[in-house]
């Protein structure tokens, strides 16, 4: 095996990791901006543009590596990026209020800070390996792949809210266990039986007017499918929503950070059966689906 081979493999692997990380962030840029705010104290006005810059940077760097470039600047930026990740994750570990789960890949691959730390240390080590066997040809920086990668990732991030990517971008996806959603910690009943879960924005007037329709269509509160609403923990809004919308189902308050893992836009709905998510909907289910659920059948 030539000395250059491990370097090429390491560079390609890191390029793929960076592209995957950029994709995971680009499919929910607003969610990434929120997580960014959890990690680094940045004003809200800067968090979203900052998230887009990070997405573009990771995709551009990943594309350069996958495009075969091992220019010193590319390799230095790669090493610096993974060392920065190691530093951030280590800081999360020592912070008393560090985020519970993190990592480069968002909800695509959710890890604890400790798992993410080991992973980032391995990637940082791999970035050192990428320096091996550089040639005159591989040391050239060709901007084409980087521009293409960065442009495509920003375009994806800008259009992502309108693309059907909720199941990829969130922890509420068909096949996921109720434990993975963490909602069973609030409503243990979700671990068994069939339940329609509604993630709600209590401040949204359209949601408030839609509740009466849901009550009637699902024949609540004595319908065949149990219904649970979840919304951000905001006592002021909770009382106003309860009285103005009149939900014929329980609406439980959830810490915003926990709820944000489960949606990109509100409202969002999911059907749970026997402790697993079996279907999800952006918004509320259609009337035909609600009628099926009201009869106690699976849609």
């Amino acid at each position: 095996m030539k000395l250059g081979t491990p370097g090429v493999v390491a560079a390609c692997l890191l390029g793929a990791v960076l592209l995957l990380a950029a994709y995971a962030k680009a499919i929910d840029p607003h969610g990434f901006a929120v997580r960014l705010g959890d990690v680094v104290p940045v004003p809200d006005a800067i968090a979203y543009p900052g998230a887009l810059v990070i997405v573009a940077f990771e995709a551009g760097l990943g594309a350069a590596l996958l495009g075969g470039s091992r220019h010193p600047l590319v390799l230095l930026l790669t090493t610096a990026t993974f060392l920065a990740f190691v530093g951030i994750v280590a800081w999360q570990l020592v912070r008393p209020d560090g985020v519970a789960a993190c990592g480069c890949f968002g909800q695509l691959l959710e890890r604890t800070p400790r798992q993410a730390l080991y992973e980032d240390v391995a990637f940082a080590a791999l970035s050192g390996l990428a320096w091996l066997g550089r040639t005159a040809r591989s040391g050239v920086f060709r901007p084409g792949p980087s521009v293409l990668g960065a442009g495509a990732s920003v375009a994806l991030a800008l259009f992502a809210p309108w693309l059907p990517l909720d199941d990829q971008a969130t922890a509420l996806a068909p096949g996921a266990s109720v434990e993975a959603t963490q909602l069973d910690g609030i409503v243990p009943e979700l671990r068994a039986g069939r339940h329609l879960v509604l993630l709600l924005d209590r401040a949204d007037p359209t949601t408030r007017t839609r509740i009466a329709h849901l009550n009637e269509r699902l024949k609540l509160p004595h319908g065949a499918t149990a219904v649970w609403g979840f919304a951000d923990d905001n006592p002021g809004l909770a009382a106003a929503f309860l009285w103005s919308a009149g939900p014929a189902f329980e609406v439980r308050s959830v810490a915003p950070r926990m709820l944000r893992r489960l949606y990109r836009t509100l409202p969002r709905s999911a059907l749970l059966d026997a402790g697993h998510v079996v279907a999800t909907w952006s918004g509320f289910p259609s009337d035909a689906t609600l009628d099926t659920l009201a009869r106690g059948e699976l849609p």
Binding site: N215, P221, H222, L242, W243, G246, P247
Partner: protein, 262 residues
């Protein structure tokens, strides 16, 4: 926020909402979490939320419904008590609805007024200090209702019934705390189901304005509500906190069977 809605629209809305509650009847139970001075307050057992206040300053019981918020005077003939459970009452909402009152929400409080008379449904005063299980249920009857809905794990209950060593459970909670409203009734159900086991339980209500004003919570370094301190021979041997409340019988069974020394 005052709502001025034509009576006809309210009639239709109330009729449609009551049709979903079957037979135009809404069941309500006494609540200690909301109060009107000089009156008894009842809250709907099933959602959507509704309150009945009787007597009221308006001469007749006031019935407050949600979706949208509305209040009206009720003919007492529409109210009947449950023969089996004196704390449960039923309100007949069939037929035409009239005598609507002006109603608005101010924070968590509901203000009802008509002809210069005002009635405020406020959050009830917090339950403070040490309470027995019976005192807790008497003060917060909705805890018993929610306890009845919970089904504990039979194996964990059996483990708790087999406990031989006298064990004290000191439960820190807030009657104002939404998480406690969800979690504590589960423990109430467990305690009712293991009646006779050597478990001495004290519920300690803490004030709304922070635990620093409660010396006991401060001394025992309570960091979240609700929290159970498990004690044997007057020494703390374990705590039940956070996610452990999802199935308190399982958590307690594990703690009481093999309590970790702190």
């Amino acid at each position: 926020m005052t709502r001025f809605i034509p009576n006809a629209a309210l009639v239709a809305l109330l009729a449609s909402s009551s049709s979903t509650t079957h037979a135009f009847t809404i069941e309500l139970a006494a609540t200690g979490q909301f109060a009107v001075q000089g009156s008894a307050t009842y809250r709907s057992i099933e959602p959507p939320v509704a309150f009945l206040v009787q007597p009221s300053p308006f001469g007749r019981p006031v019935f407050i419904t949600s979706g949208p918020l509305a209040a009206r005077l009720l003919d007492p003939k529409r109210i009947s008590r449950d023969a089996a459970d004196p704390e449960v009452i039923r309100v007949d909402t069939s037929g035409s609805q009239q005598d609507f009152l002006s109603v608005r929400l101010e924070g968590p409080n509901i203000i009802v007024d008509r002809d210069g008379l005002t009635m405020t449904v406020k959050e009830g005063p917090p339950l403070l200090g040490d309470r027995t299980l019976d005192e807790l249920i008497a003060a917060l009857p909705e805890y018993r209702r929610d306890a009845a809905r919970y089904t504990p794990d039979p194996a964990a209950l059996e483990t708790l019934r087999r406990v031989k060593q006298p064990t004290e459970l000191l439960v820190f909670f807030g009657s104002w705390c939404p998480h406690c409203e969800l979690a504590v009734p589960r423990l109430v159900r467990v305690l009712e189901d293991v009646h006779g086991a050597p478990l001495a339980v004290t519920f300690h209500g803490v004030p709304h304005d922070g635990w620093a004003s409660d010396p006991m919570a401060e001394n025992l370094r309570i960091t979240g509500l609700p929290t159970v301190i498990v004690r044997r021979d007057s020494k703390e041997v374990a705590r039940m906190e956070g996610d452990q409340w999802a199935a308190p019988e399982k958590s307690l069974a594990a703690l009481v069977a093999t309590p970790a020394r702190r």
